[in-house]
């Protein structure tokens, strides 16, 4: 197979040498490095960005977002709207039409049954689907004919572009995944590692946690694309070595998420082999405050579950004090430089939804001390650590292993010590921390710590699903294989009502107001999910790689079919 591809590629090169336009497979191999290695190629079973983006090379949604945040059709013929009749006037249904003659990479036709199956797959009981929020509020998914999908909602849905839109919600092939419903989903290794898709590439070989070998999809809908015959997506290493591999040694063409310190950014750019690409989107580095007790004294299966509320982080004044103690601008200056800016909001963009609350940005150590005093946490035994009812204010602060994050940890620890809070730091290898393995105690979903730091974002321009992630019902726990999106275990009936209201509000201004209110509840004022830094997507691209367009609204590899080799 490989030899054949190479020969075909070589033949194509010879045949089209004078032609300026690239042909499928004419540009050889492209090397991409994801220093967090993909562990699975099914985004419904992992919420890790690395897994979602690697899967997006192979399986595609009906529509995606371009670099401006606008919807564009992928498998769909066009984007259904109220104007073209695709969305019903009362906003309770949306009708998608598939492109004609679409084929899976195995040559079989793509039909509406596959789309309906995907819905069934993610909503199957006991499945622990990681992208459940995308399918909230759906009454039924019907398939009147092989090209048409009608999604009916339980209530008017002002934003019907959640299910089957964006890299987190791609279409799975029914024939392949039919036996993998519900609790069987994680056991279907072959399917999860070698999904059959419609994307520009097909999986040739996948070594989980290491390397993904792909080759051009012979049945891709555009016969001229992709320009590269093969792609190697290598995992491992760290952000810095990945950036070096592109910027200094030139071994790789594209490095994802090269979060490195500002001094180094300048120095690597000077080497002249590549450039950093950066755009601000919705990626926010945040500290999640565990609302449940992670104490190791509790039985396994009860740690960090709603059965045991946290001894002090459930107090809003304590959370606010911890936020006030932090100087976000200093964190940006030390760790991010151009690729970051301070924020108080977990929804920093788009402007219509972004909260304008910036109260948190100014550091106020005295204010923090005062708040903690008022909350009853005082240093009664003179050891420099606040206590209350014999319990010390001790915080275990975990994050992934990354020099910038360790610097942020050290700085935050310094400030929190300053206001009398004892802090213990812990760092976990990124592929374990974000690995989503329900058996590991060190994943960020399990949250066996008081506070933890990571970055998260939402696909597309609509934060509805993302904000719905803070519903009480989305709290990770042993009963859903630790798969919920509500990492801080936030639970407020008021908030749940707002989620329901947002889901049925269609007026854009009202939607914006609601989103801002919800953001303030959970982040800017409530501080359950304490936003720190609005991070640009900083990746490194070789100067010989053409067609790279950074997209912060969808998978970073969204236009990989348009990538070419600049000769």
């Amino acid at each position: 197979m490989k030899l054949r591809t190479i020969l075909m590629g070589a033949a194509a090169v010879i045949a089209t040498a004078p032609a300026a336009m690239a042909e499928r497979g004419s540009d050889g191999n492209v090397n991409v490095i994801y220093w967090q290695a993909p562990s699975i190629l099914n985004p419904y079973l992992s919420s890790g960005t690395k897994d979602i983006e690697s899967s997006s090379l192979v399986i595609e949604p009906l529509a995606g977002f371009d670099e401006k945040g606008d919807l564009f059709p992928r498998l769909a013929e066009d984007i259904p709207t109220v104007e073209n009749g695709g969305v019903s006037k009362d906003m309770t249904s949306i009708t998608w039409k598939l492109k004609k003659d679409l084929k899976w990479s195995d040559g079989t036709p793509v039909t509406s049954a596959d789309v309906a199956f995907t819905y069934q797959y993610c909503t199957a009981p006991d499945g622990g689907c990681a992208q459940g929020a995308h399918f909230d509020g759906i009454k039924s998914v019907e398939t009147p004919d092989p090209q048409t999908i009608v999604v009916t909602f339980t209530a008017p849905k002002p934003n019907p572009y959640l299910a089957f839109v964006g890299g987190q919600s791609p279409i799975l092939q029914k024939a392949q995944f039919a036996d993998c419903l519900g609790a069987a989903a994680p056991t279907c290794t072959e399917q999860n590692f070698h999904p059959i898709g419609t994307g520009p590439f097909v999986v040739k070989d996948f070594k989980t946690g290491d390397v993904l070998q792909l080759e051009a999809n012979p049945n891709y809908r555009d016969p001229a694309k992709p320009a590269f015959a093969t792609m190697t997506l290598k995992g491992g290493g760290d952000a810095e070595s990945a950036a070096r591999a592109v910027m200094e040694t030139g071994e790789f063409d594209y490095a994802w998420n090269t979060q490195i310190n500002p001094d180094l950014q300048a120095q690597m750019t000077a080497a002249g082999k590549g450039h950093f690409v950066n755009a601000f989107g919705t990626l926010v580095e945040r500290i999640e405050m565990n609302q449940t007790d992670p104490s190791p004294d509790l039985a396994e299966g009860e740690r960090s579950t709603v059965k045991h509320p946290h001894p002090f982080l459930t107090d809003p004044n304590v959370r606010l004090a911890l936020s006030k103690a932090i100087d976000r601008q200093a964190l940006v200056d030390v760790g991010y430089g151009e690729a970051g800016r301070p924020t108080c909001s977990i929804v920093p963009a788009p402007a219509a939804y972004a909260s304008t609350n910036t109260d948190c940005i100014k550091q106020d150590l005295d204010g923090a001390k005062k708040l903690l005093d008022e909350a009853g946490w005082k240093d009664t035994d003179g050891d420099g650590i606040r206590d209350k009812d014999g319990k010390k204010m001790h915080i275990l602060f975990q994050t992934s292993t990354n020099p910038v994050r360790q610097d942020v940890q050290a700085l935050v620890k310094g400030w929190w010590n300053e206001v009398g809070v004892e802090v213990e730091l812990k760092n976990i290898d990124a592929s374990v921390y974000f690995g989503g393995d329900a058996g590991s105690p060190d994943t960020f979903e399990k949250f066996y710590a008081d506070v933890e730091m990571y970055a998260n974002n939402f696909d597309g321009t609509n934060p509805e699903a993302y904000l719905a992630g803070y519903l009480c019902s989305k709290i990770p726990g042993p009963d859903n294989q630790w798969q919920g999106e509500n990492i801080p275990r936030y639970c407020d009936p008021e908030y749940d009502k707002l989620v329901a209201e947002l889901a049925k509000t269609s007026d854009m201004t009202q939607r914006g107001d609601l989103a801002k209110k919800m953001n303030d509840m959970v982040s800017a004022v409530g501080m359950d999910s304490m936003a720190l830094i609005d991070r640009g997507r900083l990746s490194a691209a070789s100067n010989t790689l053409g067609g790279v367009v950074v997209n912060t609204w969808d998978s970073e590899l969204w236009n990989v079919q348009d990538w070419t080799r600049i000769k």
Partner: protein, 311 residues
């Protein structure tokens, strides 16, 4: 022999202790002497250092403006080897790091030597135990150590940290982990020595007057295997320091706010090109410790072997 019949006043050389002979022999080994001086200097630095150099290795200016200004300072009187990317004093961090690294080296060495000697003596002395114990040794030798250590750290770090606090818990975990994965060489060496010693006349004599095995081992066998054990011990210190550095370098050893030489290396790595001294100092300290300990071991071997001594 003394000549009892002589009338001349007797001038007896004061009896020389065995250890004095050892020292005299040790002194002739220049490398060992220099190694010992360097090693003692390093130990003195980490033991006395915190009392003379009163910076907190984890202190960061709470005032952000001052913190930004104090970052990446070059060497100066206030900070003899500069400050790191967060304005922490590097000398204080080196001292704190050395304390951990060197104590890890010593404690892990003690564990591994005690265990290794025990296994070696048992295997060499009691024929019945020889097979099983040596197969156990083979088993441990065949295990890939670093992955095993990583798994141990993963499994037990939280449990131990919960019981004993993060720093002491990690310390115990790491020294135990290194100790139980590095005893094999000394067990092999000791077993070989014991097998040879067991057949010697003085052991036979002791056995023939009914000396029990326990006393045979303690009085006659152990003192005679001290020489190879000492050498293995010094090499083990060096190994333990390197293993701890490797673990910290992988980000899996001590927590990130707990400086060790290995972690300082890891932290300095992103700045290798701009501030090479950030990697140079901890690297030099690790190399010097390991090298000096190796030389001391070399000197000790010569000094403790009565056949070489006096030549």
């Amino acid at each position: 022999m003394l000549d009892a019949g002589s009338s001349a006043p007797l001038t007896l050389a004061p009896p020389r202790s065995q250890w004095r002979d050892v020292w005299d022999q040790f002194r002739t080994h220049k490398g060992a002497l220099i190694g010992m001086a360097v090693f003692f200097a390093l130990v003195a630095l980490v033991v006395l250092g915190p009392h003379l150099w009163r910076y907190d290795p984890n202190f960061i200016e709470p005032d952000a403006m001052k913190m930004i200004k104090s970052r990446n300072q070059p060497a100066s009187l206030a900070h003899p080897i500069g400050t790191d990317q967060l304005g922490r004093d590097m000398l204080a961090r080196m001292i704190a790091g050395g304390k951990v690294s060197i104590s890890v080296g010593f404690v892990a060495m003690t564990i591994s030597i005690c265990f290794g000697t025990f296994v070696g003596v048992m295997a060499g002395f009691f024929r019945r135990l020889d097979g099983p114990l040596m197969r156990l040794t083979d088993l441990f030798l065949a295990l890939p150590l670093l992955p095993l250590l990583l798994v141990m750290v993963m499994l037990f770090r939280d449990a131990l940290a919960g019981v004993m606090g993060p720093s002491l818990g990690t310390f115990l975990l790491i020294v135990t982990a290194i100790g139980v994965t590095s005893w094999m060489q000394s067990a092999r060496i000791v077993r070989g020595e014991v097998l040879a010693l067991k057949e010697r006349e003085f052991v036979l004599a002791a056995r023939s007057i009914g000396t029990p095995s326990r006393r045979l081992i303690l009085r006659h066998v152990l003192p005679n295997v001290v020489s190879p054990v000492m050498v293995a011990a010094t090499l083990n210190i060096a190994d333990a320091i390197i293993t701890e550095s490797a673990l910290s370098f992988l980000g899996l050893g001590f927590p990130p706010d707990f400086p060790t030489w290995g972690r300082l290396l890891f932290d300095g790595l992103p700045y290798l090109q701009q501030y090479p001294e950030r990697v140079f100092w901890p690297g030099l300290a690790i190399s010097l410790t390991v090298l000096s300990v190796n030389y001391i071991g070399d000197g000790l071997r010569d000094a403790l072997d009565p056949r070489i001594r006096g030549r």
